[in-house]
Subunit: 188 residues, 2 copies
DNA sequence: CCTACCGATCGGTAGG
DNA sequence: CCTACCGATCGGTAGG
């Protein structure tokens, strides 16, 4: 059962992802649903509230995917692999939401932005722990964890800039190729 | 000699980078220069023209840094190293312009966007050639060049999201650490 | 969800 | 670079 509210969110997610929050008007969203702009306010509180709901949803999707992996009893290497697959799968299966989370959180008001940054900090902390575990157990070289985390998440996040669901690369293939290069390098 | 026009460009670069093109008003830019919005039009043609000038400047900075490296007679490995350093230096020394180029080109009108995308395509082609040369001369493993280029540039581009000039990492250190991980991997 | 608006702000211009 | 505007559009609301 898709409610009107769901459809409004879907339209807003797509438009915010494509044209940005400030580049999207309330009338754009209404038009995508075939209604007039004033009618939106039966379903939403404000444009900013709509943005926050979408960004929060994105942040939560990343955390919900990583937390069970982080808490599992897999080996450090398997955790790393599972986490990279999960990260790229969140991006590729929720492209619009992930893109809005990654790029449009700057448009949030102070209070909402603070909340989202706390979620992002938690996500980054879990990744740092996971990589540190790999180093501590001797499966990863003793590199600077902050650099490594930045490199992994940088490459992961940028997938949202070029991934196309109708392209030749599946999420699993992307994650697998990235992981192989990261683990073993490209020097012959 | 800094002209008024230079100062307007500087203010616009900063504001577009921080709040986005659509999130920045012509009055924001004027205010940063201590003048009124109408007065801007003695120096610029339109808001969109200002955006294009800044985005084009960013695209050209990346190309101007890469082309001499690409055409030099360095070894493939030295080219790769020099190209990564150059890419990260363009980002870190022109943060605002690079960020506007990387994120705000979507706000350009069709004609300007096409021109910028041609520059981006050329940049990516040079990188692909450079990596292919590494594979052909046997210094890099025969991995999929497209994946590798995406991984390298993804990690490189995302630097624009977290780099702070007052932070602990210099551009050279970032490039060096990234290159070491990419070449030799992190698996122990 | 529509009709019918509102005040505020937008990018931009004419004439100095 | 300012004064003084312009028409268009913005996010949002009252009352059905």
């Amino acid at each position: 059962m898709k409610s009107s509210k769901d459809e409004i969110f879907r339209a807003a997610r797509f438009l915010f992802s494509t044209k940005g929050y400030h580049g999207t008007t309330i009338r754009d969203i209404a038009k995508a649903r075939g209604i007039l702009s004033g009618s939106l306010y039966a379903h939403i509180e404000s444009k900013e509230d709509l943005l926050y709901a979408i960004v929060e949803e994105g942040a939560t999707a990343f955390l919900d995917a990583l937390i069970p992996i982080s808490q599992s009893d897999m080996s450090a290497l398997n955790k790393l692999q599972a986490a990279l697959v999960a990260h790229i799968e969140v991006i590729t299966t929720h492209m619009d939401g992930a893109r809005v989370f990654l790029h449009e959180w700057t448009a949030l008001d102070d209070e909402h932005r603070q909340k989202v940054l706390l979620q992002r900090d938690e996500y980054e902390k879990l990744w740092a722990q996971l990589l540190q575990e790999g180093i501590d157990t001797g499966v990863l070289k003793p590199v600077n964890v902050k650099y490594l985390r930045l490199l992994v998440l940088s490459a992961g996040n940028w997938v949202s800039e070029w991934y196309r669901s109708d392209g030749p690369m599946s999420p699993e293939m992307i994650a697998s190729e990235f992981l192989t290069i990261l683990l073993y390098g490209v020097a012959e």
